[in-house]
């Protein structure tokens, strides 16, 4: 980790993480209004992985994600207004109101979708990369998944095929220590080394601290370089922590599956705090200006979502089949 990160890029990291944090907090603050009528899995606390990885890939590279997809979508450049409208169930949402928070898509920036079935999007991501391989294209597909997904058979099956065909896949494991309320130690033996499992497929692997955006970026950059050199897929893993409940807007340290102490120790390691300490040039005034600029953008997006019409019911539009016309 000796490589220096340009000052501009470092500031960019901070802006993007702050933006995601403020968007998620705005959702949390308004959730009780009962207008966002779908499950929401907030990314608060996990912003650095999304931002660090997305900064290491190109705009044209692809990303596929899971139930906790807001940060991934936003870091990849997904349209904020369309995301908000989707959460509000509106016609102007990124899935026309059909998907909600767990299904985010913005193909214009390579955000290829997100699904909440555990591990379900991993092979689809490998398939996207397989298509680029068959078409002799060079885009990378980044697959974001949690450590819970590595307990699925499909995880290893996907790794195997990606390695076999040397596909341009960036496997990104976000280990936030819990699968809903189930801690890692009731699901995987202490000795289970996911990085070693991936490494056994002969691919590039590396771990890092997921709340340090610079570290995430550098690990991801190394992995991306390896993929672009034609070495096939790479697996990177980051330890991080979600601040709020698994699903919903609240804190839930009181209900008993994790301790307040644990939460506080991770709050001290909040990715925004860590990175702000590293940023030298950002004055209090710059910070406030940045916040107010982002607030304005969020307010605009929420207004857009609130004012947008609901999808009107038309049986023809509800048809789940694609047409065969060319």
């Amino acid at each position: 980790m000796t490589q220096l990160i340009a000052k501009d890029l470092s500031l960019e990291f901070f802006k993007e993480m702050l933006r995601i944090r403020m968007i998620e907090e705005a959702i949390a603050n308004r959730y009780s209004e009962q207008k966002m009528r779908c499950p929401v899995h907030l990314s608060i606390g996990q912003e650095a992985v999304a931002v660090g990885v997305c900064k290491a890939v190109l705009h044209t590279d692809r990303l596929i994600s899971n139930h906790r997809a807001h940060a991934h979508y936003l870091a990849k450049g997904g349209d904020l207004k369309k995301m908000m409208a989707e959460i509000y169930g509106k016609k102007t949402g990124c899935c026309l109101g059909r998907g909600g928070s767990m299904h985010l898509v913005d193909m214009s920036v390579g955000m290829m979708g997100s699904t909440p079935i555990v591990g379900g999007s991993i092979p689809v991501g490998v398939g996207l990369a397989f298509a680029t391989f068959l078409k002799k294209e060079s885009d990378i597909t980044a697959i974001f998944f949690g450590e819970g997904s590595t307990e699925e058979g499909v995880f290893v099956e996907s790794l195997n095929f990606a390695a076999l065909k040397k596909l341009p896949v960036l496997f990104v494991c976000e280990n936030n220590l819990y699968s809903v309320y189930s801690p890692l130690d009731v699901r995987q033996p202490k000795e289970r080394d996911r990085i070693a499992i991936a490494k056994a497929h002969g691919i590039f692997t590396k771990g890092g601290f997921g709340n340090d955006v610079e570290e995430v970026y550098q690990v991801a950059q190394e992995a991306v370089d390896s993929i672009r050199s034609g070495n096939g897929p790479a697996y990177i893993e980051f330890e991080t922590y979600r601040h709020r409940e698994h699903c919903g807007p609240n804190f839930d340290n009181h209900i008993g599956y994790r301790t307040e102490e644990e939460f506080l120790s991770w709050e001290k390691k909040c990715p925004l705090k860590i990175h702000r300490n590293k940023l030298k040039g950002l004055s209090e005034k710059d910070f406030e200006d940045l916040r107010s600029e982002i607030s304005h953008e969020i307010e605009e997006a929420i207004q857009f979502a609130e004012k947008s019409p609901f999808p009107s019911f038309d049986p023809d539009l509800e048809n789940p089949y694609a047409t065969n016309s060319l």
Partner: protein, 357 residues
């Protein structure tokens, strides 16, 4: 007065009593010991029975189902729980290729007594991947039993029968039923698998329903009563084996068959009931039978669209009146029209439900 408890409490009581009685029973599933106790259906059991009998598991649905089946073949009585039907689809291989066939395939020596509790999601933007019921999917497979209790009494009695059954039983519970109250005796009792129940006697129409649709059928039957139509509601309780006798006996009396099913219509449970009515009760039928079930589309997330996905008592009443050659009441039309232009979401089971799941 008999004790009234909620559906989720009835599941909890049945599970607790069964575990006390039979040390072979253990629970597994992602989050079974969690602080919310799988929507209150397993509250406190982790503390009472410890981690070997109330076991959290890796997010490995297929392998864990296979492991559950193996342990059942080896003499245990696992109850597996998934927070949504949709999560279980990864394990269809183990369920269909192993659990359903083991007993028969190996000459009838061994049994695979596993109970798989699956929760059907609905509302609050559950969307395409958290809202599937799929009872006909499971019921299609010889070797599986499929039950769908609609009320707390059956929830308890069917679960107790399921854990004592020597076959794999898929126990489907609708998320909107967890909070429903009903009379439930404290002591252990069994509701036999494969026995339907006439929950409301009537003479004009046989209305066959299951799970949450039984509640909608009740509401429809009350409106229809005001219009002079007497509806007999049959709650099948078990989708498989199916109690054809109760259905056909009722059909012989009424001559009219309507099915209300909380699942897709195409190749669905409702199709099967119609097949029974036509194949085995053709001479009883006074008119073509009718079905109220989900349209052949995906369940959208936005409530504005989901309002149009789920059929309710109105659709049932509408069909029955049409079948009876009666004028559809203005009230029903009005409510239909209101639904089309509704600014109100219909995505929660009650006003107390404020999300997120």
């Amino acid at each position: 007065m008999t004790r009234q408890i909620k559906y989720n409490e009835a599941i909890l009581e049945a599970t607790d009593q069964a575990m006390e009685l039979d040390p072979r029973i253990y629970l597994m599933g992602l989050g079974v010991p969690d602080p919310k106790g799988i929507f209150g259906t397993l509250d406190g059991l982790a503390k009472k029975y410890g981690p070997n009998r109330v076991m959290d598991m890796p997010t490995s649905e297929n392998a864990m189902t296979g492991i559950g089946i193996g342990s059942a073949i080896g003499g245990m009585r696992p109850i597996m729980t998934h927070q949504r039907v949709d999560f279980f689809l990864l394990a269809l291989d183990q369920l269909i290729n192993n659990a359903a066939k083991w007993h028969y395939m190996f000459g009838g020596e061994m049994t695979a007594p596993i109970v798989i509790r699956l929760i059907i999601g609905r509302g609050w933007g559950q969307g395409p991947q958290h809202s599937q019921s799929l009872q006909s999917f499971f019921a299609h497979i010889p070797g599986l039993k499929v039950v769908m209790p609609s009320n707390p009494y059956d929830a308890k009695g069917l679960l107790l029968s399921a854990v004592e059954d020597n076959n794999p039983v898929v126990y489907l519970e609708h998320r909107w039923l967890h909070g429903v109250f009903g009379e439930v005796p404290k002591e252990m009792y069994r509701v036999p698998i494969g026995k339907a129940k006439i929950v409301r006697p009537g003479t004009d129409v046989t209305l066959v329903a299951c799970s949450h649709m039984v509640l909608e059928a009740y509401r429809a039957a009350k409106w229809l009563e005001e219009d002079g139509v007497s509806v007999e509601i049959i709650d099948v309780r078990s989708v498989k084996p199916l109690d054809k006798e109760t259905i056909l006996t009722s059909l012989q009396k009424t001559g009219r068959l309507v099915v209300a099913d909380p699942d897709w219509k195409f190749v669905g449970f409702s199709s099967e009931i119609l097949a029974v009515g036509v194949e085995e009760g053709f001479s009883f039928l006074k008119c073509a039978p009718a079905r109220i079930a989900y349209p052949d589309r995906l369940c959208p997330t936005s409530w504005a669209l989901a309002n149009h996905f789920y059929p309710t008592a109105k659709e049932i009443a509408f069909e029955v009146l049409k079948m009876m050659g009666k004028k559809v009441k203005a009230q029903i039309y009005f409510e239909e029209i209101m639904k089309q232009f509704s600014k109100e979401s219909m995505d929660v089971p009650s006003k107390e439900f404020t999300g997120p799941f």
